[in-house]
């Protein structure tokens, strides 16, 4: 009986390990957008807006064309006179990350971890 159980365990072991492997997080890979269309840019902007709780973010068509990371910063501070100044305090950028997971393209707010799946954007591995 003991031998039967131990043999059974040996037989089951590979499957158990496979099951373990299947339950761990799927790998992500950095992505970029080689070709930007109006639809994909619109989705990108809307998704970024969602990830920043409804705030509009100016994003150009070249976003993610070279890098899987997009640095977001506040718009320039202007004195009432129109003079552009800085605060003297270096604020860290917000970072949007583009990545592939299970063949799907996602946009993520690095600070909050929130992510949005993209359907119009054509991602490819970076």
């Amino acid at each position: 009986m003991k031998k039967l159980i131990s043999n059974s365990m040996l037989l089951l072991m590979p499957f158990m390990l496979t099951a373990c492997g299947a339950s761990t997080a799927t790998k992500e890979s950095a992505a970029k957008i080689p070709v930007q269309t109006d639809a994909s840019l619109g989705e990108l902007r809307q998704s970024a807006k969602t990830l920043f709780n409804g705030r509009e973010i100016a994003i150009s068509a070249s976003a993610f064309s070279e890098s899987n990371r997009l640095l977001i910063q506040r718009k320039p501070v202007r004195l009432p006179s129109g003079q552009v100044i800085d605060t003297g305090v270096d604020e860290p950028p917000f970072v949007l990350e583009l990545f592939l997971r299970d063949g799907e393209c996602y946009l993520r707010n690095k600070a909050t971890g929130e992510e949005v799946r993209l359907v119009e954007v054509g991602c490819e591995a970076k």
Partner: protein, 551 residues
């Protein structure tokens, strides 16, 4: 949500006169504001905090106690820390916060918060009335933003615009508005627009620029807020006596922060030229590549054009200063050291962190897209640099001047007096308004700073600031930037030969006047944006210096 005045730069022409009329004699305890008690509680007689002259409670006791608490979330989806309070609480917060962190707190009037029913108007009075040696207000950087507007973001280096950088040479009637630069590939650069640097703007959507009262229309045209927004400009081309109309539609324009890099081959060696317009995140890689190019071209001098660079990230300024001076001059030296008021000699009163000076960073940050964090920066190893400047040269750009002179790199200033901002602040949100109040200044390795009147070329007629070797030259909008015939470039090249300057025949006719944008009282501008103050401070505390850790 509370809304504040939506004011843009052209509005200063009208708004300034109104503000000045209303706020004279703010010092010494007197005030011109209504004596009506604020909503939600009067001056000590009912619910709410009470005022005792000379006694300041911790600002945290009043923070977030709002007349109109916000019931929506901040940029990260977290609720604002607002609770029901009153204008009285808001005013008490401003009083305590200013007394605690304002750089010149001992020059502040002690005004009963209960006597003011508008926190912004109250805040406008919480500043020093002292003047600099030139007679200008010592504090020219005291203002507010509607926090909702302050929370507007953009991809680094991108903005909704036509691709035009405006030169508002005179903000009060008769106003003078010109095109300062045009970004290649932008709507303004289109052949059908046929616009160039130096074009004069006469009307915007039918409103006269010179004397028009409809500043909202003028502002809306100058600073479109939505993609596709169109406006019509009546323009006068350079050298023309006729006018024409041009309609432009805004798009998301990507600005190159280093648009021109060139080398002048002179009889006495190669001189590099670099136009640098914005210390933003995008500029780091651009500067790295540009200086690498100039180094590989074996330049023996550099003309650094900062005439339109209003500042930005200080660490970028530090990196550029290193790239100019090199290791021998900068290793172990201080680029910039911040100083708060004497209550906080060692600790940052806003973040609670120990004060640390900014070195001359010699490695690229972890924000770089092209290079691994820590990659050694290229350097030109120069013992002098020619910096082209105007009154638009400000903040981090002035820190470059100050930082280099602190390590005995000669800065030869060509142009006109810089804006004069050795100061900084932590924009602070309370109840939907973000307050900017001067909290620290910066000094170099020698402890030098205090350039509140700016840096001034040696022979500038008015000479209000710290004098630097160099020449007073007007920025001529009729010549292309970086051209060898550009008066400022030509002056730098000539000075390099024999130390001489062009004869000063005029003080700003055509071309950029020393446009010192002095601010009288806080005013509200709608532009720019970021997250809640608490979140920002949290990020600052938890922020890993990009030079200490690579991604």
């Amino acid at each position: 949500m509370s809304r504040h005045g939506f004011l843009k730069p052209v509005a200063i022409a009208l708004f300034t006169s109104i503000t000045l009329a209303g706020c004279g004699g703010g010092g010494g305890g007197s005030d011109d504001n209504t004596s009506n008690p604020p909503n939600g509680g009067g001056g000590g007689g009912s619910t709410g905090p009470t005022y005792t002259a000379g006694v300041y409670e911790n600002a945290d006791n009043f923070a977030g106690r709002c007349e109109n608490p916000r019931n929506y979330n901040d940029i990260n989806g977290n609720p604002y820390n607002d609770r029901q309070g009153s204008i009285l609480y808001e005013n008490h917060f401003l009083r305590s916060y200013s007394n605690d962190t304002y750089l010149w707190y001992n020059e502040l009037p002690d005004l009963d918060p209960g006597n003011y029913n508008d926190p912004i108007a109250y805040f406008e009075l919480l500043k020093t009335n002292a003047v600099t040696a030139s007679g200008a207000p010592k504090d020219q950087f005291h203002f507010t933003y509607n926090t909702d507007d302050y929370e507007k973001l953009s991809q680094a280096g991108v903005s909704v615009s036509y691709g035009i950088d405006w030169a508002l040479l005179q903000s009060a009637p008769p106003r003078k508005l010109y095109i300062r630069t045009i970004e290649p590939g932008s709507p303004a650069d289109a052949p059908e627009a046929n616009l160039t640097r130096g074009v004069k703007i006469l009307q915007i959507d039918g409103v006269d620029v010179e004397y028009g009262n409809d500043v909202d229309t003028l502002n809306a045209g100058l600073f479109p807020s939505a993609i596709g927004e169109s406006h019509t400009f009546t323009v006068q081309d350079v050298g023309s006596n006729t006018t024409r109309d041009v309609t432009l539609s805004a798009i998301e324009v990507e600005y190159d922060p280093v648009p021109i890099v060139d080398v002048f081959n002179t009889a006495s060696g190669k001189v590099g030229y670099m136009l640098f317009n914005d210390h933003n995140f995008v500029s780091e890689d651009r500067l790295f590549d540009s200086v690498t190019q100039l180094r590989d071209d074996n330049v023996t001098d550099l003309v650094l054009d900062l005439r339109y660079n209003g500042g930005g990230l200080l660490y970028i300024a530090s990196e550029l200063a290193y790239m100019i001076a090199g290791s021998a001059a900068t290793d172990g030296r201080v680029f910039n050291e911040v100083r708060f008021n004497d209550k906080y000699p060692n600790i940052n009163p806003v973040t609670g962190q120990r004060l640390e000076s900014t070195p001359f960073y010699n490695g690229i940050s972890s924000n770089s897209d092209k290079y691994p964090g820590g990659t050694r920066l290229p350097s030109l190893d120069l013992d002098r640099v020619f910096i082209l400047a105007t009154s638009a040269t400000c903040s981090a750009s002035e820190a470059i001047i100050n930082g280099l002179r602190g390590v005995d790199v000669e800065v030869i200033l060509i142009g006109s007096t810089t804006c004069g901002k050795p100061y900084g602040f932590y924009p602070t949100d309370n109840c939907g308004t973000t307050y900017f109040t001067v909290q620290f200044d910066g000094v170099n390795d020698k402890g030098q700073g205090g350039y509140s009147d700016g840096f001034t070329p040696m022979n500038e007629p008015s000479a209000p600031g710290i004098l630097q070797n160099g020449c007073y030259v007007i920025d001529d909008l009729s010549t292309p930037l970086g051209d060898i015939n550009d008066p400022m470039v030509a002056a730098a090249l000539n000075y390099r030969i024999d130390g001489s300057c062009p004869v000063v025949t005029q003080v700003a006719s055509f071309g950029v006047q020393p446009f010192r944008g002095s601010v009288s009282g806080a005013q509200t501008v709608s532009n720019g944006g970021f997250g809640s103050t608490a979140d920002m401070i949290s990020q600052m505390i938890n922020y890993t210096d990009p030079h200490k850790k690579a991604d």
